[in-house]
């Protein structure tokens, strides 16, 4: 029951809705007591040949009235209670979403997208169930159960009621037990489903290898094995699921049998009339659902409670990145002084960066090169304040980055990340992502700087073309160029390209770098790249390995050094000429 207390903030907020809902429920329950009694009364009257037309219309009119009241109040409580559940789900979804928006990199490294999605869908569903089915069953079992039992005692016979109700609690018990087992079996079934999903995913992704080694038949056989296993696991689910109805039937059957025996005896001994027995049998029918619901209530509460705790825990996590009170709102300049003695990722043992120092004057270009995983991106992440827990200081325009507001700092930086994530909106809205008020002309100019304008012209709907699953599927190079245009449209004081040209061919790369040079004089640029041609003109190049600076200098100085940089330069010149073969299908 703790979950109802945890959700009390919501019930208070929706007080009117829930009070109205419960009142409607009560009204529906009271109206529901009438038909069984009327049927019994009329049966008696007819059986005793005492039914006058007047009496008939009186009772039948009452019945019609009850039906109408029941219909209206049912409509009322359904809208109130189910609507309340839907509202709760929306509220929680909103708070989760805005919480996600506020959280830092550490949070997103700990929680994978799939997990966060699961919290925002499955957990919310379990919680809203408490505010819907939970509230309903709680009040329904109390109200319907209570009023029906009272009606049985008042209209029929209290002894019969007590005796006939003996098997009823079994309904609640069976609903609870079966519900729990079903939930367990269902968990296994879902695991089987994801195995199937993974297998399919793998076969489709690896289809070329499978074809190459003529493994189609064995792959199908393997799939069939997984299918058979899934059937075996699901068999259990269906077995338990199919037990619900029969169990209810037997328990109700027992109640009926007791009613027939004891009630029949009471009729023959003239304690109750036949009509009363008929009413009683109908009332039993009305009790089935509330009793069963009690059992389900426990399961709903249990799951809702666990889900609520998970969501609350998530919402309780705080971003480690905090703005200082009175933080500076605009960048004081675009020079960068970067001095980090050490940085270790949260939850990691090994430091990711050690002794990274560089001073970049405003308008300068810094090149960061090195193997994959050397730490280039980490250097950038600290600059973007994705992490604050490093040993050292990073200054922009002579002020510590931690002294700026996030808005002030980040809006002055244009960032093109490695994975160039695009949103499923139009090409235009993707380019002006950071500034939706930009005109078509400005969007086009940014696209030209990113050397993607010509490609866009060839799309079916040009700038209105949708990006992503529903629209055009872009090549890696197109995505990168779009991401570059997105960063350029705000004309940022500092531009950071994080391996952002890797999928772009050499000629286009040259063109983009040239555009940058033209448009961005006096503005600071950081280029991290695997391909050295991107950093040839940088004012300083740092070669990073294992989180440390191993070589540094201009392109010429590094070549003269004849170290890692010089060797890589030679190798890349060769493969640039030979090219990865894509058959122009890129």
């Amino acid at each position: 029951m703790g979950i109802f207390i945890k959700l009390s903030w919501f019930f208070k907020q929706q007080k009117k809705r829930y009070i109205a809902g419960v009142l409607f429920l009560l009204l529906a329950d009271l109206a529901g007591l009438i038909p069984p009694r009327v049927i019994g009364v009329l049966a008696d009257l007819m059986n005793d040949r005492q039914l006058t037309l007047q009496l008939l219309f009186l009772w039948v009119g009452l019945l019609a009235l009850a039906a109408l009241v029941q219909y209206l109040s049912r409509y009322g409580w359904r809208n109130m209670i189910w609507g309340g559940a839907a509202t709760l789900e929306r509220e929680l979804r909103t708070s989760l979403f805005s919480h996600f928006m506020k959280m830092d990199e550490t949070f997103f490294q700990r929680h994978r997208t799939g997990d966060l999605m699961a919290h925002a869908t499955n957990d919310l569903n379990a919680i809203q169930n408490v505010a819907g089915a939970g509230i309903l069953t709680l009040f329904d079992s109390i109200l319907t159960g209570g009023t029906t039992i009272i009606a049985m005692m008042v209209f029929v016979d209290w002894r019969l009621t007590l005796v006939a109700l003996i098997p009823m609690p079994l309904l609640a018990v069976s609903a609870r037990v079966l519900g729990r087992r079903l939930h367990q079996a269902f968990g296994e079934s879902q695991a089987a489903f994801s195995r199937l999903n993974d297998k399919t995913q793998e076969s489709i992704s690896g289809i070329k290898v499978i074809k190459t080694f003529d493994q189609n038949q064995p792959d199908v056989a393997d799939f069939e094995k997984i299918i058979n296993k899934t059937v075996r696991i699901n068999r259990k689910v269906y077995r338990i699921d199919s037990l619900f109805d029969p169990t209810t039937s037997i328990i109700i059957g027992l109640t009926y049998a007791i009613t027939i025996a004891y009630g029949g005896w009471l009729v023959t001994t003239h304690v109750i009339t036949l009509g009363q027995l008929i009413s009683f049998v109908s009332y039993i029918g009305a009790l089935v659902w509330p009793m069963f619901a009690i059992g389900r209530l426990f399961n709903v509460i249990e799951r809702g409670n666990a889900s609520y705790d998970r969501v609350a825990e998530l919402l309780g996590e705080q971003s480690l990145i905090k703005e200082r009170p009175g933080a500076i709102e605009a960048l004081a300049g675009s020079s960068i002084d970067y001095h980090v003695a050490q940085f270790t990722y949260p939850d990691d043992q090994q430091p990711a960066l050690t002794k990274i120092d560089f001073d970049l004057a405003a308008g300068g270009t810094l090149g960061l090169v090195g193997r994959v995983g050397a730490g280039k991106t980490t250097i950038i992440k600290l600059l973007l304040r994705e992490f604050d827990n490093y040993d050292g200081t990073i200054m922009i325009g002579g002020k510590n980055v931690k002294d700026y507001t996030l808005e002030g700092l980040l809006s002055a930086i244009g960032y093109v990340p490695q994975d160039n994530f695009l949103f499923s909106s139009s090409v235009r809205d993707n380019i002006r992502f950071a500034a939706m008020d930009k005109s078509d002309l400005e969007v086009q100019a940014a696209a030209q700087q990113g050397a993607i304008h010509d490609d866009i012209q060839n799309f079916r709907n040009q700038y209105d073309t949708l990006v992503g699953e529903k629209g055009v599927s872009l090549s890696g190079g197109q995505k990168q160029r779009l991401a570059i245009s997105r960063a350029l449209i705000t004309m940022p004081e500092i531009l950071i390209l994080d391996d952002a040209l890797s999928a772009v061919d050499a000629k286009t790369e040259m063109q983009i770098l040239e555009n940058l040079k033209q448009e961005r004089h006096n503005k600071t640029t950081i280029i991290a790249s695997h391909r050295l041609s991107a950093v040839v003109n940088a004012s300083e190049i740092l070669v990073i390995d294992d989180g440390r600076v191993v070589e540094r200098g201009t392109h010429e100085q590094l070549l003269a050094l004849d170290g890692w940089y010089a060797e890589m330069w030679q190798r890349q010149q060769i493969s640039a000429e030979m090219g990865a073969d894509q058959d122009g299908r890129d």
């Binding site: 049927i39 049966a43 007819m46 039914l51 219309f57 039948v60 019945l63 019609a64 039906a67 109408l68 029941q70 219909y71 359904r78 789900e89 929306r90 979804r93 979403f97 996600f100 999605m117 993974d198 399919t200 995913q201 690896g206 070329k208 290898v209 074809k211 190459t212 003529d214 189609n216 792959d219 199908v220 056989a221 299918i227 699901n234 199919s242 029969p246 059957g253 009926y256 049998a257 027939i260 025996a261 029949g264 005896w265 009729v267 023959t268 008929i278 193997r371 809006s411 990340p417 499923s424 699953e469 055009v472 599927s473 190798r571 060769i574 090219g579 073969d581 058959d583 122009g584 299908r585």
Partner: protein, 603 residues
């Protein structure tokens, strides 16, 4: 660009199925076709339905038993208690029988549905394996996976609709018969409500499917936005768009809430509440009729009891039926997408009928082969060359010159329509596909790794390959060096896509995979991924070893790899522009010479 546009179109047809409305005629056609996959399991369904018919019968016999009891014993007074007990026991036995029937009819029907569902999955999976690479180029992997796993899932609901409709029909028919035999006039009165009910069902299914579809669309939009915002959180935060994105999300969230409330309203107005209202009104009408009859004639209480129970039996299944109708639409949409895959004609290239050749020598000849992916732009143009058994042919050329396409047609991943490829002087189409796959070993650039362990990744599914052979192959390409260092060695786990391994290690494993099958002909697509110097040396050494005694077609990025090749083909824009040995080509002072100079200059 043509390529991108066709993908574009493909995607749109894939995605928009949700929003299309399908004509009733097509719906029936789709349902009929999908139902064929349930045929192998018809016994499950038939027995389940027979049981459910029995169940409906018991449901009317039990009230009749009580009616008899009331009218013949209770009405008489002073009935012996043991007779009363007998009736109670009989009634209880009836419910036990009912419970048994309920269990088996539910269980068998569910199992039949489950087997149908898994059968469709298997059929789909098999079909996918017959499709050509072109299909996989054009269709995003995610959408294929979702067809096999999620869309098949809605078939379950689909079959559930049939179950509820049929069970409903049984209940209605048996209830009507029971009413008719009890009191025919009243039975007709109740039946008079049926048109109203059908109208309500029709209206509900018509109206609700629209509301429901709208709600589902909003939900999927909501989840797409949520997913995208989590994945793109870095971008959102870096570009300070949290507020805008939150506002957009909030708008969708509100839309979904509104859609859901509309659905709740529709359901409250039309679903079980309405059925209940109609039921109550039917009771009013029936009781009025009995009341009027009772003015002149004797009406027994048991009759009232039995009849009102039948009326409830008559109406009860209706709300289930109506409820399930909303998922009918889901099922039709999902089925249409499943059928689209089953109807797809993008088959993998087929061999000539009765092909039975055996590759013994390993001679390869291309005769005027031209090829295009889309039927318009020629990627290969009039390619001719001969590789004698044991020789190495090197292929070089710029990006987009058509190097990979030579492999794609030779491996029969794609069909070519002009020219001829001969192996041992016999048309490649006259060999069974399995022979081609077994005798031609392809070392792929992108070495995909499967979930499992190291040795299963080397032998793949082929259980004929012994552990010894796996070790030998790994040793041969010197992959054993890093394998031996792994925890569990050959049984070290490989997770999704081989993320734990470097691209160099993956490359070596892919060599071992090829070596273990001992092919006559080798096709190499040299990887361009940057690999550390030490592994690079291992790879070069590995390549050299594998080529021994095999006819090799090698696509090279480093000229040193193919320097000793018998022939080197220089490709440009799909055409052979130069051909000859390393020395001959150098002497020509052409394309090859330039490439060589460049690489020499660097070294």
């Amino acid at each position: 660009m043509a390529e991108t546009n066709s993908t574009d179109k493909e995607n749109q047809t894939h995605q928009s199925a949700w929003t299309q409305s399908i004509s009733t005629k097509d719906q029936v056609k789709i349902i009929a076709r999908v139902m064929k996959y349930a045929l192998p399991f018809k016994s499950y369904f038939l027995i389940a339905l027979v049981f459910s018919a029995f169940l409906a019968t018991i449901n009317i016999l039990l009230p009749r038993l009580l009616q008899y009891f009331m009218d013949h014993f209770l009405n008489k007074g002073n009935t012996a208690f043991n007779i009363i007990l007998d009736f109670a026991a009989l009634y209880f036995l009836g419910t036990v029988l009912k419970a048994i029937l309920q269990f088996f009819s539910n269980y068998l029907y569910s199992m039949g549905s489950e087997k149908t569902l898994e059968n469709v999955r298997l059929v789909l999976f098999k079909k996918l394996h017959t499709l050509g690479m072109r299909y996989f180029d054009l269709t995003p992997a995610g959408s294929i996976v979702s067809r096999v796993t999620n869309d098949t899932m809605s078939l379950m609901d689909f079959l559930a609709v049939f179950a509820s409709v049929l069970t409903g029909l049984f209940a209605i028919i048996t209830a009507f018969i029971a009413m008719y035999t009890t009191n025919s006039v009243s039975a007709w009165i109740v039946l008079g409500f049926l048109p109203i009910l059908l109208l309500a069902i029709w209206y509900y299914s018509h109206y609700s499917s629209r509301v429901y579809r709208h709600m589902r669309e909003k939900l999927s939009e909501l989840n797409v936005k949520l997913n995208e915002s989590i994945e793109g959180i870095n971008i959102i935060q870096e570009f300070r768009q949290e507020k805008r994105i939150s506002d957009e999300f909030e708008a969708t969230n509100q839309d979904y809430l509104n859609a859901r409330k509309a659905m709740i309203r529709t359901n409250s107005l039309l679903l079980s509440s309405l059925i209940n209202l109609l039921y109550a009104l039917a009771i009013v009408a029936v009781l009025t009729h009995f009341g009027l009859v009772a003015q002149n004639q004797f009406v027994e209480a048991g009759v009232i009891y039995a009849f009102t129970t039948y009326v409830s039996n008559f109406f009860n299944p209706m709300s289930d039926m109506m409820d399930s109708l909303s998922s009918l639409q889901d099922g039709v949409v999902a089925s249409s997408r499943i059928l689209r895959i089953l109807d797809d004609q993008t088959y993998a290239p087929a061999q000539n009928e009765g092909a039975h050749g055996e590759i013994k020598m390993g001679k390869i000849e291309f005769r005027h082969v031209s090829f295009s992916y889309d039927g318009k732009n020629k990627i290969l143009n009039d390619i001719s060359f001969v590789a004698n058994p044991g020789e190495t042919i090197g292929i070089v050329g710029h990006t987009g010159s058509g190097k990979s396409s030579i492999i794609n047609v030779m491996m029969r991943f794609y069909e070519f329509y002009e020219g001829q490829i001969l192996i041992d002087d016999r048309d490649i189409k006259d060999y069974p596909m399995s022979e081609i796959r077994r005798k031609i070993g392809l070392v792929l650039q992108d070495s995909f790794m499967f979930y499992g362990d190291i040795s299963s990744n080397i032998r793949l599914f082929n259980q004929d390959i012994s552990d010894e052979q796996v070790y030998d192959a790994a040793k041969f390409v010197q992959a054993d060096r890093f394998i031996e260092k792994l925890p569990g060695k050959y049984h070290a786990r490989v997770i999704e896509g081989g993320a734990k391994f470097s691209s160099g290690e993956r490359q070596l494993l892919s060599f071992a995979r090829t070596v273990v099958t001992d092919p006559k002909i080798l096709v190499l697509d040299e990887a361009t991924a940057s690999i550390d110097t030490e592994t690079e040396t291992l790879i070069q050494e590995g390549l050299h070893r594998i080529r021994q005694g095999r006819t090799t077609i090698a696509i090279a990025h480093r000229l040193s790899t193919i320097r000793d090749a018998e022939q080197i083909i220089v490709l440009d824009a799909g055409k052979i522009v130069e051909m000859g040995s390393h020395d001959e080509l150098l002497a020509k002072h052409g394309h090859y010479y330039q490439l060589y100079q460049l690489q020499q200059g660097q070294n």
